[in-house]
C-alpha cells in the first residue's frame, strides 16, 4: 500500500505552493476580490502556462493526460490560498463533462481552448426549488424539424446541430458569470440529456451573482437557445461521474482551507494575549484546538478515500465510487463546519472581519459544506445505498 503522493505529484504541489505564496498572497487576492469580474485573467493565464488547466485532459486535446490525483493536488493548494478563479467550474466540472460526453469533434473544438486558458466552462444543472437534485430538470430540449426551423428562423437550419434548442432556467451555476460555454442538463422526450450552449448565443441571458466566499455564479435563462448535444455517453452516467469527481476535488480544496485555518488559529492562540498570557495557555482552548486537529485528520482521510474512489479503474468501480464519495463528503462537510466555526470563535471579534484572513477561510468552508449537496441529504443517501458495512451478526459465524 502506498498512500503517499508520487515524486511528480509532490513536485507539482510544492512548486504551485511556492507560486501561490509569492504571486497570490492576501493583498493580491483582496485586489482580485474587489475587481469587477472578481477573478484575474492574468492569473488564469499563468495557471494555463503551468499546465494546470488541462492536467487530466488527454494529451491529444492539449492536456497533460494525467489523473485526478494531480487535480486533487492543485485543489488542495488552491484551498490553502483561497484561489478565486473558476478552476473547479472550468477545469474540473466543465472539462470532465466534455471529455466524457463530447464527440471527437466537440473535444477538438473545446478542450484545447480550456487547456490554454482561453475558454471558461460552467456546468448548469441546478434549478430553482430543486435543491441539489439533478435527476429531473424542468429545462427541456426540443429538436425542430428542418421546416419548422426554417419557418421560425432561417439561420437555424443551416447551422449544423443547431436545430436543438433549450428552454428553461438554471440557478447556482458555478463560474456561470464568466463562462463562454455552458454544459446544460435538460430533458428531451422524457430522458435526461447533456447539451452544450454558447453563452453568446441568442436566447441566452444570465445574471451574475457572487457567493459569500467571493466565487462567481449565475442564474441563466435559456429561451429557445440553440444547443449541441453532448451525447457520446449516457447523460445520467456522465453527470454522476462528473459530480463525484467535482466532489472529490472540492474535498481536497476543503482540506487545504482547513489546514490553513487550523494553522492560523494555532498561531493566534500562541500570540494573542489576554489576562497576561497567551490565550492558548488555557486548557479549554488547547483541547478544542486538539479537536480541530482530529477533525482535520478525518477530513484528510476522507478526501483521500474520495480521491481513490474516483481514480479506481477496477471492474464495477462506479457503484462503489459514488457510495464512497458520499461517505467522504459527509465527513468533510461536518469537519468544514466544525473547523470554520471554531476558528472564528477562537479568534474572537477579529475572526469576523474582512481585514483578517481567517474569516475568508470560514466563508469558503461554509460554502463548500453546502456545495453539490449537504451532510443531511448525503447521510440519507448513504443510508439508502445500504451504508458502508454489510450487516453481519456475530453469532452466525
Amino acid at each position: 500500500m502506498d498512500l503517499e503522493l508520487s515524486d511528480i505529484q509532490q513536485e507539482l504541489g510544492s512548486s504551485l505552493a511556492k507560486y501561490l505564496r509569492s504571486e497570490y498572497d492576501q493583498s493580491v487576492r483582496e485586489a482580485i476580490l474587489g475587481s469587477e469580474e472578481g477573478i484575474s485573467r492574468e492569473q488564469w493565464k499563468s495557471f494555463a502556462e503551468m499546465g494546470l488547466l488541462g492536467l487530466a485532459v488527454p494529451e491529444s486535446y492539449g492536456g497533460a493526460g494525467m489523473t485526478f490525483a494531480e487535480v486533487a493536488v492543485v485543489m488542495e493548494a488552491f484551498g490553502r490560498a483561497l484561489v478565486l478563479e473558476p478552476y473547479l467550474a472550468t477545469a474540473v466540472l466543465g472539462a470532465n463533462a466534455v471529455v466524457a460526453a463530447g464527440t471527437e469533434e466537440q473535444k477538438q473544438a473545446i478542450l484545447p481552448g480550456v487547456c490554454e486558458g482561453s475558454v471558461f466552462l460552467a456546468f448548469a444543472g441546478y434549478e430553482a426549488g430543486q435543491r441539489y437534485s439533478l435527476d429531473s430538470p424542468a429545462t427541456t430540449a426540443t429538436t425542430a424539424t428542418a421546416s419548422q426551423g426554417l419557418a421560425t428562423d432561417g439561420t437555424t437550419a443551416s447551422a449544423g446541430d443547431a436545430s436543438v434548442t433549450l428552454h428553461g432556467e438554471k440557478c447556482s451555476v458555478l463560474g456561470g458569470d464568466v463562462a463562454d460555454q455552458f454544459i446544460v442538463t435538460a430533458v428531451e422526450d422524457g430522458e435526461l440529456g447533456l447539451f452544450l450552449v454558447d453563452a453568446s448565443a441568442r436566447g441566452v441571458s444570465r445574471i451574475a451573482h457572487r457567493q459569500a466566499d467571493g466565487l462567481g455564479t449565475a442564474s441563466v435563462l435559456f429561451e429557445d437557445a440553440p444547443a449541441q448535444r453532448l451525447d457520446s455517453a449516457p447523460a445520467a452516467e456522465v453527470v454522476a461521474e462528473v459530480l463525484d469527481t467535482a466532489n472529490a476535488a472540492i474535498m481536497a480544496e476543503a482540506v487545504g482551507a482547513m489546514e490553513t485555518s487550523l494553522k492560523m488559529t494555532a498561531d493566534y492562540l500562541r500570540t494573542r494575549e489576554q489576562f497576561g498570557a497567551p490565550i492558548g495557555t488555557n486548557q479549554a482552548l488547547q483541547h478544542r484546538a486538539a479537536d480541530m486537529y482530529a477533525s482535520l485528520e478525518d477530513a484528510r482521510s476522507m478526501a483521500l478515500f474520495a480521491r481513490l474512489a474516483v481514480t479506481a479503474e477496477s471492474e464495477g468501480a462506479e457503484k462503489d465510487r459514488h457510495r464512497d464519495v458520499v461517505a467522504a463528503k459527509i465527513v468533510v462537510d461536518g469537519t468544514a463546519r466544525h473547523i470554520s466555526q471554531e476558528s472564528i470563535q477562537m479568534h474572537g471579534g477579529i475572526g469576523m472581519t474582512m481585514e483578517y484572513p481567517i474569516g475568508h477561510y470560514a466563508k469558503r468552508l461554509t460554502v463548500i459544506s453546502r456545495t453539490f449537496d449537504d451532510a443531511d441529504s448525503l447521510t440519507a443517501e448513504l443510508a439508502q445505498l445500504g451504508g458502508l458495512i454489510e450487516p453481519h451478526a456475530a453469532d452466525l459465524n
Partner: protein
C-alpha cells in the same frame, strides 16, 4: 405556582401582544420578520412609539419612565416584543448606559440624559473593548488625564457597534495607571462630535458595516461627564454587563427564526417530499425546539426566584447566555441549510430580473445572518468566559 403564568400575567401578555401589533407599523415588523436590515430611522421610530406608551424602558426607575413591573412582567414585555418582530429599543441606551446613569449618575446627568436616552433622541455607542482588551476588559489602556475641570482622553476603542450613528459614547477609561487594573478605571460619557474623535468602519464577513474603531486624540471631556466616582468605573461596568447578560438569551427571537425555518422547509421540495418531511432535517429542527423550550423554562425558573425578592444579578444568567447564544447560532445554521444551493450567494434582492424566477424566501438574509450571528458567542462575555463564570461562581472550581 403550578401554572406557568397567573391569570393576571396571561392578561398582561395579551395586552402586550395587542399593543405591539396595533401600534408598531407593520412595515417595520415585516422587516424584522424577514431579516431585513433596519435603518437608523426605523429604530428611532420604533423606540419613540414604545417610549410614548411607557414600553421602551420599563425596567428603569419609575421617576425616569420605568414601570412598576415584576420580573415576570418584564420578561413578558420583552418576549412578546420579540415574538411580534418589533424592532427592539437600542440596548446601548436602554439596557446599558441608562440604568448606569440612573443608578450612579449625578442628578444633573440624569436630567440631562435620561429622557433623551429613553426616547432615542441621543444615540449611544458602547466604548468598552479595545484591540488588546477584549475578554480581559480590565486591561484597557485608553487614558483620561485630569486637567482642572476636564479630562484629556487618548486611546482607541474598537468593535463599536453602530458607532457611525452615535451621538455620544459611554466609555471605560484609565484614570489611575498606578493601581491594580480594575481599581483605576472610570466611566466617562463623551460627545462623539468633540474634536479629536474619529470613527472608522470595520467591514465584517457578513458583508455589512456594523462595527467601528473609535480613536480619541486629545479629546477634552468635562469632569461633570463622569458617571459616579473616579476610579469606580469597574463596579459600574460590572453592573452594566450583568444587565446585558439577562436579556441576551433572545428566546423570543429564536422562536421566530425557528418558525421561519420551519415554514420555509415546508415549502421546499426534495426528492422525497418537502424538506420538513425529511427525517434528518426534521430531527435537527425538532431537537432545537425542545432545547429552546428547556432554555425558556430555565429562564422562567430564574425569574420566579427573582420575583420573590432577589434583585442581584443571578450567576445562572451565564447559563442563559451560554445556551441562548449557541441556540441562535444553531438556528441560523439551520436556516442556511434550508436554502441549499440557492442560499450561498450574497444578493441584495429576491427579485432577480424580468424572466428569471424570484430567489427563495430567506435567500437575501440567511447566509449573512449566519455569519453575523457568530458574534453572539463572542460578545457580551464569550461562551468561554461564561463557562469560566459557571465553573467558578456556581461550582466553586
Amino acid at each position: 405556582m403550578d401554572t406557568l403564568l397567573s391569570a393576571q400575567e396571561r392578561d398582561f401578555a395579551r395586552q402586550m401582544r395587542q399593543f405591539y401589533r396595533t401600534e408598531i407599523p407593520e412595515s417595520l415588523r415585516f422587516k424584522v420578520a424577514t431579516g431585513q436590515e433596519l435603518s437608523k430611522d426605523d429604530m428611532v421610530t420604533s423606540q419613540r412609539i414604545l417610549n410614548r406608551h411607557g414600553c421602551a424602558v420599563p425596567h428603569w426607575p419609575e421617576e425616569w419612565g420605568g414601570q412598576d413591573w415584576t420580573a415576570v412582567q418584564r420578561h413578558i414585555w420583552l418576549e412578546e416584543m420579540q415574538l411580534a418582530c418589533v424592532p427592539q429599543p437600542l440596548p446601548f441606551n436602554t439596557s446599558m448606559v441608562g440604568p448606569v446613569i440612573a443608578a450612579f449618575g449625578s442628578q444633573s446627568l440624569k436630567e440631562r440624559f435620561l429622557p433623551d436616552t429613553a426616547n432615542l433622541d441621543i444615540w449611544w455607542s458602547q466604548g468598552f473593548s479595545e484591540p488588546n482588551a477584549g475578554s480581559d476588559l480590565a486591561s484597557l489602556k485608553t487614558s483620561a488625564v485630569r486637567d482642572g475641570e476636564t479630562y484629556i482622553v487618548n486611546g482607541q476603542k474598537t468593535w463599536t457597534t453602530l458607532g457611525q450613528y452615535g451621538d455620544w459614547i459611554f466609555t471605560l477609561v484609565r484614570t489611575d495607571p498606578s493601581v491594580k487594573k480594575q481599581a483605576g478605571i472610570s466611566f466617562l460619557l463623551i460627545d462623539m462630535k468633540s474634536s479629536g474623535v474619529t470613527v472608522r468602519p470595520i467591514q465584517l464577513i457578513d458583508g455589512g458595516h456594523e462595527v467601528n474603531e473609535v480613536f480619541f486624540d486629545n479629546v477634552v471631556v468635562p469632569v461633570g461627564n463622569r458617571v459616579g466616582e473616579e476610579n469606580k468605573g469597574w463596579t459600574y461596568a460590572k453592573f452594566l454587563l450583568g444587565n446585558e447578560r439577562t436579556g441576551i438569551a433572545r428566546i423570543g427571537m429564536s422562536k421566530v427564526n425557528l418558525a421561519r425555518a420551519k415554514a420555509y422547509a415546508a415549502v421546499t421540495k426534495t426528492a422525497r417530499g418537502t424538506l420538513l418531511d425529511d427525517p434528518l432535517f426534521s430531527a435537527r429542527l425538532t431537537k432545537l425546539e425542545a432545547e429552546l423550550t428547556a432554555l425558556e423554562m430555565t429562564q422562567l425558573r430564574i425569574l420566579s426566584t427573582q420575583a420573590a425578592g432577589a434583585d442581584a444579578p443571578d450567576p445562572r444568567s451565564s447559563v442563559l447566555k451560554l445556551k441562548g447564544s449557541q441556540l441562535q447560532e444553531d438556528i441560523s445554521e439551520l436556516l442556511v441549510d434550508v436554502l441549499g444551493p440557492q442560499g450561498l450567494d450574497f444578493v441584495a434582492d429576491r427579485v432577480q430580473a424580468e424572466g428569471f424566477s424570484d430567489l427563495p424566501l430567506g435567500a437575501v438574509d440567511a447566509l449573512p445572518a449566519y455569519f453575523n450571528t457568530r458574534k453572539v458567542t463572542i460578545y457580551g462575555g464569550s461562551s468561554e468566559v461564561q463557562r469560566g463564570i459557571i465553573s467558578k461562581a456556581l461550582l466553586g472550581l
